[in-house]
Amino acid sequence: MPHIGPVVESDILLALEGVTVSFDGFKAVNDLSLYIQKGELRVIIGPNGAGKTTVLDLICGRTKVSSGSIQFKETEVTKLKEHEIVRLGIGRKFQNPSIYEDLTVLENLEISYPKGRGVFGALGFRRTAEVKERINEIAEMIFLKDHLDTKAEILSHGQKQWLEIGMLLIQDPELLMLDEPVAGMSVAERVKTAELLNRIIEGRAVIVIEHDMKFVESIAHKVTVLHQGKVLAEGRMDVVQADPKVREVYLGH
């Protein structure tokens, strides 16, 4: 179980300190500080335009910070390239399912397998028993075991979301970032996804952005509420929900 309590220095996996990013003068994220502990499941909520997705973009290097520091396992990542950050152990799922539609489920997972990432490494990469076993294991976890040879294009929306989660899992990242993992899913798919998330958080930290309050309640341990690029409140779900400031900007409707 992720622990909620006083932050101990050595337990911190990811630390954002005084992070600001501005787009043409508009501060999408404004002097934000956020700490994620090892093995923690953190849900970030907030109204539209609060800067939730931008925070994930900053951590994974898709957007560069204007000022401030982001440290992952005590390594400064603000100057690193995206693929270098991934190799440090950060996985990112995008809001819309971002998978390779022209390839099969198996090939999607195989490309995400963290071996043979150089040009010649990829040329010499072999689908060994070990690779196959790992792919099968992940495919089973994401409910796609019977679809390994299906082209990703024809999967349902929910299955595409799972596939992308699987593509991250196979990298075995220490920090997994999921941007609206249940958006556009049916009720049944949501339940399955919550179950999947509860299973995969073991041994890793997860940051989830989600709008769906029911879903948040079903998975959240600790919630951070963002508003106008800043942390408005942080803490246990029920405490945050009771906070009048939060109710005003977000939960009121």
Binding site: K81, E107, G116, R117, K151, M167
Partner: protein
């Protein structure tokens, strides 16, 4: 062999075997020396389209400058042949004997330094691939690291083609200018102007081309090939799977350039000269058309495209010289609109299902499954 493995063998190798039979048996038996030499010339563009299949079809990098890489390979071998032809005895009437004739006409009195290494045949063979690849590397690395792609990259390749063509034309004393490098005679003492030599060169060209097809297939069947497709579809996702995308794009662009270089060298050997008119913007675009028409997702299809369009060009441009360019442009538009996967796509959608019905008694294959295997 059981039915399943026979089937996978057939689907993997039928196209390749048919092409090999056509090029190695049917054409040499059916065509006279002159026509066979023409086919050999067409096939030298086959190397270029193989590169385009890799970098345009699979990776989505459209290059409108393959002509320049073709030209660089062609110039490399032309320089070697020219030096061999310019012995002091052959050039005794020049003011400076022993240097190529066009240099003498341009008042050069000694061989420029960059011509010196082309006395060596081994160096020349290396340079045919290395020079185009090196230029491609500089261009690709600079662009892809800065994440310049798509249309912008295509425009830049075209600009580079224009610049290099102008440079070659302008530097007459060093390059032979607009006339190019002509009057090539022997390769290591072997006269390349005879019919026997042309036939021999044709077979060398075919074997090299088939070898390059196998090489291209090896790349496409590896994980690298699937990463290329992934880059074409979702470049960002590939980056966030831990790959340095720029390296992969640079690799495939350099490989395409090296292939084009080999094609250029085979062209020079079979045609007997190399000139800027063969490598400029228009020829570069024509090469893209060969590839589009044959099928940019099919190595064999693209080679067929190079053969067919070139044969049509020879035939029609003799009859209707003015109309040819319009016909070519129309063809390109029609293919893009109606057959985005080119001839190979037509074959995969109609001929292959028919054949598998005849040979394996299949029901009609759903189009999705056919489209999933365009790599032959």
């Amino acid at each position: 062999m059981n039915k399943l493995s026979l089937r996978s063998f057939a689907s993997n190798w039928t196209g390749f075997i048919l092409l090999a039979l056509l090029l190695l048996v049917v054409f040499p038996a059916a065509l006279d020396d002159f026509r066979l030499n023409l086919v050999g010339k067409y096939l030298s563009f086959g190397f270029v389209v193989l590169g385009l299949v890799l970098c345009w079809g699979y990776t989505g990098i459209l290059s409108l400058g393959q002509g320049i890489f073709f030209g660089l390979g062609g110039y490399c071998i032309a320089m070697f042949l020219k030096l061999e032809a310019s012995t002091p005895e052959n050039t005794a009437i020049q003011s400076t004997p022993g240097i190529p004739d066009f240099m003498d006409w341009n008042q050069l009195t000694e061989l420029p330094f960059f011509w010196e290494p082309f006395h060596s045949f081994a160096f020349t063979v290396f340079a045919i691939m290395a020079v185009p690849a090196a230029i491609a590397f500089i261009l690709a690395y600079a662009m892809f690291k800065r994440r310049v792609g798509g249309v912008y990259f295509a425009i830049i390749t075209q600009a580079v083609t224009a610049v290099l063509t102008i440079l070659i034309i302008g530097q007459q004393g060093y390059t032979g200018g607009i006339n190019g490098i002509t009057d090539l005679r022997t390769l290591l003492g072997w006269d390349i102007r005879t019919d026997e030599a042309h036939n021999m060169l044709y077979f060398i060209c075919v074997v090299l081309l088939l070898g390059c097809i196998l090489l291209g297939r090896f790349v496409l069947k590896s994980k690298l090939g699937r990463i290329l497709v992934a880059i074409r579809d979702k470049e960002e996702r590939v980056r966030f799977s831990g790959y340095d995308v720029a390296n992969f794009k640079t690799f495939v662009f350099c490989a395409a350039a090296a292939l084009a270089g080999v094609g250029g060298a085979m062209f020079t050997l079979q045609v007997g000269f190399m000139s800027p008119t063969i490598i400029g913007i228009v020829p570069s675009i024509e090469m893209v058309i060969f590839c589009a028409l044959g099928g940019r997702l099919s190595l064999i299809g693209a080679v067929a495209g190079a053969l067919i369009v070139n044969a049509a060009k020879t035939t029609f441009s003799e009859m209707f010289p003015e109309l040819w360019l319009f016909a070519m442009g129309g063809l390109f538009i029609a293919v893009t609109l109606f057959f985005p996967r080119g001839l190979a796509g037509v074959v995969y959608d109609y001929v292959v299902p028919f054949l598998s019905k005849v040979f394996f008694g299949d029901k009609k294959t759903p189009p999705g499954q056919v489209a999933a295997k365009p790599a032959e």
